[in-house]
């Protein structure tokens, strides 16, 4: 054991001396690893960034909310079975709420209707087109993480009366009101004036998933009153208006139970006889996640594979240089063997040499990647980049493994050299 330690120390010393005496060669070889590690590390940060952004977008959906919709949140092969389903009417929410109130120990808390359209919004000379316009009730704040930067969400009275008030997203506010506060100003939607009562704080967009930044919300009563939903037909002849009912549950650990209860309530609301299949879908965030996770994972695997190739090229460089090193020092290996170096000693010596080179490359690569992440984070604040300690550990482990695998073949060759042949080598 002690001898092993001394041999290890000796090997490190040789590796250091070797790198110093062949500085150019070592640097160029390490460059391959540096590039590889930078590529892999950046990919890693991008992937974890995507993951974080994805989860952030998902959080908008809320993990304690059930969504009653016409279409399920997963790809379906038999779309014709869903197409002719009856719409989910916003009135269902009231009926569900009445049933919840009448049920003792209900696992549901409150039902919130939402109805949406794409609309243009104007203020003064500024206009934003195709804004996701949402009609809902004041209970909406219970089902979603809404955070007002200025003002407030519309209240219960405004909600009930169908007041002409609106809460606008950060990006919408930014375009319409570049230099003034939007609060108490009136914006024009569909030819009607709505007073701005609140502005959402910035949420950030990611992959075009849900974001409040480019939405506006108004009381459902006003929404239904001022927008003629029947005529909302797009170029394909389909009604653009979408409505659903979201139901907040009391205890998110009992989501399945709540789902069963909601299923029963909805069957009652729809008046379905027991033998008929339900003609609506109940979704939760988790279901949505599980359909998107494979996509996310595919991106991650493909990305890591492609960047992994550059690391592989770096590893080949290391292997090559270690072979050269073994060749150049054949006589030295012979001498060492004559002096009593065992196979293991020689193997270790060259493995450590290649590993040291990879570790050096990995370390430099990591430092570079850190600064690049920092730069990207500064340049594109919306891109959720994550540089973590786990990544540092992982890339160091990858460096060591690269060194060991790429150094193994040459080191093995060296350790098997016949001392007589090696000593005679010129």
């Amino acid at each position: 054991m002690k001898r092993f330690l001394y041999e290890l120390e000796e090997s490190w010393r040789i590796a250091y001396a070797q790198m110093r005496s062949n500085l150019t060669r070592s640097t160029l070889t390490a460059l391959g690893v540096i590039i590889g590690i930078v590529a892999v590390t950046l990919m890693g940060t991008a992937i974890s960034g995507i993951s974080v952004g994805f989860d952030k977008s998902m959080a908008v959906l809320g993990d304690d909310v059930l969504y009653v919709t016409q279409w399920p949140w997963k790809p379906v092969d038999d779309w014709w079975n869903y197409r002719d389903r009856k719409r989910i009417e916003t009135e269902y929410a009231e009926r569900i709420n009445r049933i919840i109130a009448a049920t003792p120990n209900s696992s549901l808390m409150v039902a919130v209707p939402t109805s949406s359209l794409m609309r243009s919004i104007k203020y003064g000379g500024n206009e934003v087109e195709n804004v996701f316009t949402l009609g809902t009730t004041s209970d909406f704040t219970l089902t979603s993480t809404i955070d007002c930067k200025e003002g407030r969400f519309f209240n219960e009275i405004e909600s009930r009366d169908g007041a002409q008030v609106v809460v606008i997203g950060y990006d919408v506010a930014d375009v319409l009101f570049p230099s003034e506060s939007p609060i108490d100003k009136s914006v024009l939607i569909n030819g009607h004036l709505f007073k701005v009562v609140g502005v959402n704080s910035r949420q950030g967009t990611f992959l075009g998933l849900f974001s409040w930044d480019s939405m506006v919300a108004m009381p459902l009563a006003a929404f239904n009153k001022y927008f003629n939903l029947k005529n909302e037909v797009d170029v394909r002849g389909q009604n653009q208006n979408e409505s659903d009912v979201r139901v907040k549950v009391k205890d998110k650990t009992k989501l399945a139970e709540a789902k069963d209860e909601l299923m029963g309530i909805m069957r009652r609301v729809r008046g379905l006889p027991p033998e008929k299949k339900e003609d609506f879908s109940i979704n939760e965030q988790q279901a949505f996640k599980s359909t998107l996770d494979p996509v996310k994972n595919t991106i991650a695997i493909a990305g890591l594979f492609i960047t992994g190739l550059s690391l592989f090229v770096g590893a080949i460089g290391i292997m090559n240089i270690t072979f050269v090193s073994v060749k150049e020092r054949t006589k030295e290996i012979g001498t060492r063997k004559a002096l009593g170096a065992r196979r293991r000693t020689i193997l270790l010596q060259f493995l450590i040499e290649s590993t040291a080179l990879c570790l050096l490359g990995g370390f430099i690569g990591l430092v570079l990647a850190y600064f690049m992440c920092f730069g990207i984070g500064k340049a594109f604040p919306s891109f959720p980049i994550q540089f973590s300690f786990g990544l540092v550990v992982a890339s160091m482990i990858v460096s060591v493994l690269t060194g060991l695998t790429s150094g193994f073949a040459p080191a093995w060759t060296a350790s098997r050299l016949d001392p007589v042949t090696a000593l005679r080598y010129e």
């Binding site: 001394y6 041999e7 070797q18 030295e332 012979g334 002096l339 009593g340 065992r342 196979r343 000593l423």
Partner: protein, 248 residues
Amino acid sequence: MDARQSVRQLGPIVIDIENITKDYVMGEEIVRALRGVSLQIRRNEYLAVMGPSGSGKSTLMNMLGCLDTPTSGRYEFSGRNVKEMDDDELAAIRNREIGFVFQTFNLLPRANALRNVELPLIYAGMDPESRKERATQALTDVGLADRIHHKPNELSGGQRQRVAIARALVNNPSIILADEPTGNLDSKTGEEIMALLEDLYQRGNTIILVTHERDVATHARRTIHLRDGVVESDEQTFVPRLETVAAS
């Protein structure tokens, strides 16, 4: 007392080979480098192995130095069967029992004299302090106390060979195996190295000298001539002084 008798008195047998052969496969043909060599070498002998090139001199040296194993025959080193040893056991024997001195010195170019001499001790697993102490002592013994931190390229040829000899000595080996130790040196420096080997011999070391120079071989007490892979002659070339025999 005849010469043979006095050799026997030198000490126990270190190397005992009997009828060893070594064949090499060179492409299509088999080269029979050794065709049956028997030899006994005792502690505190000073032996020269001579012969023209192609006589099997180098092959015999590789066998004696445990760098290679014979094709057939028996080889015992201090009573241990070398022919049966694996690579690591051979490495251990080379490390502890044999000190090599090469014609081309074979020092590690980037390591200073001290580190070069320490190398066998590292492989033997000695701790750093004792290692340094022993290596420094060995370098002092060969007259290089003031050169221990010099690198090989800062030393003269004779000094380099002294470092190599110190390295060969540092593990207190049973034999010192010197392969043409003066081959790369001018004659004056060569004489100095031979004087150093003589001194080591006087201090009780066993020395095997491989050379093709008669002048060099005359320093030895016993000379073996090889020709075509067999021992042609084995004779005492220098009658050992009796006081040396008595002392050992």
